[in-house]
């Protein structure tokens, strides 16, 4: 089958060769559908967003071109500045914690013990649930008077907490939900990494008298670092744009203590109908994500380098 195809394409090439200069390549028609889709759903909305961000564009009022005025509003908008801070804290915590717990869980589930398969299945269950449904359940679990969490704390003699109902603890509490839901994802990725590690280094380390911690620190960790970066990147993209859990549990409150850029952007564009200003926030938000992703990619390359360096 492949031989005939190759022969056919070779024949096509030789036929087409003399006219190549005059005719566009024959694959163009096949690219067009994809090109149209990309233009229509990625490029055009993007350019349109940028254009909107340069206009005073409120639903129900005529639009006027205002240049960079929307962008100049941003640094003087305390809610936006706060939202940037909340986004950074929220993202950092909800990348780091699942990474730590996910790696630990992966190391545990990599060992052989009875009912491992079943327990693995149980462990990844949070991932399968719908975020909004989870959020509603957690909201009631967080309830300071009626929630089960404060009851559990009282069993071990700890004072009740206010969880998402206090500006000081709202972000860590939301991260708790995020961590609970997404630690299994990190575990799955790292588990895949662990399965790919050969056992020879461990054997020789054991002969050299390395203990469990040394083996983890000097063999496991460097070898799974690329997987951690992938997990970290996926988590970061998810956490930065996190919306459902925050919106369903706190709507950015109490006050604006858990209002991330995404939530603020939503309010501006779809509650205040200030599409121009909302677009400006979207553009800045996009740039922020690109920078973060670039940093992670750069770090990923650096670690790949040291891996080779270490090996050499």
């Amino acid at each position: 089958m492949s031989v005939t195809t190759q022969a056919a394409s070779r024949a096509a090439q030789t036929e087409a060769a003399p006219e190549r200069e005059l005719r566009p390549p024959s694959y163009w028609p096949f690219v067009v559908p994809a090109l149209v889709v990309v233009l229509a759903i990625i490029i055009f909305p993007w350019l349109f967003t940028i254009w909107m961000s340069l206009s005073e564009w409120k639903v129900g009022s005529p639009t006027t071109f205002v240049g960079l005025a929307n962008y100049l509003r941003l640094p003087n908008d305390p809610r936006f500045v706060e939202a940037v801070g909340h986004t950074i804290v929220y993202t950092a915590l909800s990348v780091l914690l699942p990474l730590i717990f996910g790696t630990l869980a992966a190391v545990v589930f990599h060992q052989k013990f009875p009912a491992r398969g079943f327990l693995r299945g149980v462990f990844i269950m949070p991932m399968m649930a719908t975020p909004v449904a989870i959020a509603l359940v957690w909201t009631m679990m967080f309830h300071p008077q009626l929630g089960v969490l404060n009851y559990l704390l009282s069993l071990v003699g700890l004072p009740p907490q206010l969880w998402v109902f206090n500006p000081g603890t709202v972000i860590p509490s939301l991260v708790l939900v995020e961590t609970w839901q997404w630690t299994p994802l990190v575990m799955l990725i790292v588990l895949g990494g662990l399965a790919a590690i050969p056992i020879e280094p461990y054997e020789s380390a054991e002969i050299d008298g390395a203990n469990f911690w040394q083996m983890f620190r000097y063999i496991t960790l460097p070898l799974i670092t690329p997987f951690l970066f992938i997990a970290g990147m996926i988590r970061m993209i998810d956490a930065v744009k996190s919306f459902d859990i925050i919106f369903a549990i706190t709507q950015g409150g109490p006050g604006s203590a858990s209002e991330t850029i995404n939530l603020y952007l939503y309010s501006v564009a779809f509650v205040y109908y200030d599409l121009g200003y909302g677009s400006a926030i979207a553009v800045v938000f996009f740039i922020l994500i690109v920078i973060l992703a670039a940093v992670l990619l750069y770090l990923r390359q650096r670690t790949a380098w040291t891996e080779i360096g270490g090996g050499a």
Binding site: G60, M140, H143, Q145, L146, T250, Q251, P254, G255, S256
Partner: protein
């Protein structure tokens, strides 16, 4: 068929009589020509809730009456508002009839010119039943439905008064009387609070934005007015500061911990579990409070007016209505639907199930309809009494959402100890330019 209120025979007899009348040469009084638009198809966009349910459940009756087909969908309130605004602004909405929240959307819809003027239809006897007259709607309803020029842009559907819910059992246990004033309410709440037991005197919305609907009850009763004669906002004046102090006292001293993050749902949970003795919120919560599957205090709930403040006693009022998209091609048919939705029969069903309170006095005050109300008598009484002291609960401006967010955040932050006057001042420094821009544009 047995339960059908109007038998076919009666209709036939009626039309025969009408025919006979016309034969006599005396000009017959025009009747609503329900069937005139038979075959028309209408699209309706509803906010999810008991009003939407009530309409959808009985829509077959409307189709039987008029021959008009109705497609309707219920969307959660916030999303419904967004979808409606975006479609209306596009000039080609996919719906003919829209369910709107007056307290959020009135000014925005008027400014956009998105709703059809139905004043003319209301005067046309071919389109309007004789019992549907402007004067039957409560003052708040007319205030909501009419624009500055006095045109009716919608039919007021259901009104939401804020009332005081209280737990009779807890009141009896502590020997506390039902408060009539704010001061009595604070004193009662202090007596009812027993932090060790985990019960508190008062609960209510603390969450930014949602909290404004509670706060305005205090603001109004401290004599507050939202706007001055030039449309400037007044919610950082002395009345607002006093109201915020009262709000702060109640929600920090005698309310459950974490109340700063409570919306109605968390507040209701605390109240239905018997952990809070008083709750001020909309009248619509009686059904869940009296539902044994959802509440531990069935039969123990008291319903009364929001206590009086030093400058009066008002019930903060919110409401929703049904309007017709100005771009609709089926305005007359759509009007018939709106009229049917606010009719006596439909309004009675709504009131009797506790799912809403019609704006029409002829429904609310009809003893026959009142008899059928399934909620406690006290509830109905609190509704009737609230209607007499009703006052709009939010300023009628375009940026209502920004107002609720910014001032709401300021008020929430006083629950963490911030100074009411300073917080209100800061919030209004941010809000005033927004208001000015929106009115100017």
């Amino acid at each position: 068929m047995k339960n059908h209120p109007i038998s076919r025979r009666a209709v036939l007899a009626g039309s025969a009589a009408a025919g006979a009348l016309s034969l006599t040469g005396i000009p017959a009084r025009a009747e609503v020509q329900w069937k005139k638009y038979a075959g028309t198809k209408l699209e309706v966009i509803l906010a999810k809730g008991p009003r939407g349910d009530n309409l959808q459940k009985n829509i077959k009756e409307f189709t039987e009456l008029t021959g008009i087909q109705v497609e309707s969908e219920q969307i959660p309130e916030q999303q419904q508002r967004q979808k409606a605004v975006i479609e209306l602004a596009s000039g080609k909405p996919s719906f003919d009839v829209i369910h709107l929240s007056y307290h959020v959307q009135k000014r925005q819809f008027e400014k956009g010119g998105w709703l059809a003027d139905i004043s003319g239809y209301m005067k046309d006897p071919n389109l309007t039943a004789p019992d549907l007259v402007e004067s039957d709607f409560s003052a708040a309803g007319l205030q909501y439905a009419k624009n500055d020029k006095g045109q009716m842009l919608s039919l007021p559907w259901s009104v939401d008064y804020f009332i005081l819910y209280y737990n009779k059992e807890l009141f009896q246990k502590k020997g506390v009387a039902v408060p009539k004033t704010f001061d009595e309410m604070v004193a009662a709440a202090e007596k009812l609070t027993d932090a060790k037991e985990g019960t508190f005197g008062f609960v209510g919305r603390g969450l930014r934005n949602a909290n404004m609907t509670l706060w305005t009850n205090f603001f109004l009763n401290y004599g507050g007015e939202f706007l001055d004669s030039k449309g400037g906002i007044l919610t950082d004046g002395p009345e607002a500061i006093a109201a915020t102090k009262m709000y702060q006292t109640l929600l920090t001293k005698v309310a459950p911990p974490g109340v700063a993050g409570f919306n109605w749902m968390e507040s209701m949970a605390s109240f239905t579990q018997g952990r809070s003795a008083m709750w001020i919120d909309g009248v619509g919560w009686a059904p869940p409070l009296e539902d044994p599957a959802a509440s531990r205090i069935v039969g123990k709930v008291g319903y009364t007016l929001v206590p009086a403040g030093p400058k009066g006693q008002y019930s903060a009022t919110y409401g929703d209505g049904l309007g017709i998209a100005a771009a609709s091609k089926n305005k007359e048919a759509a009007y018939l639907l709106c009229q049917w939705a606010v009719s006596k029969a439909q309004g009675a069903r709504l009131l009797q199930a506790g799912g809403g309170v019609p704006f029409r006095n002829s429904i609310l005050n009809d003893p026959e309809i009142q008899k059928g109300v399934k909620m406690p008598k006290e509830w109905l009484q609190s509704v009737i009494d609230s209607a007499k002291i009703s006052k709009l609960g939010l300023p009628v401006i375009i940026p209502v959402a920004e107002f609720r967010d910014l001032v709401g955040a300021a008020i929430t932050s006083t629950l963490a100890g911030a100074d009411p006057a300073a917080e209100l001042k800061k919030a209004h420094e941010q809000f005033r330019p927004i208001l000015e821009r929106s009115e100017k544009a």
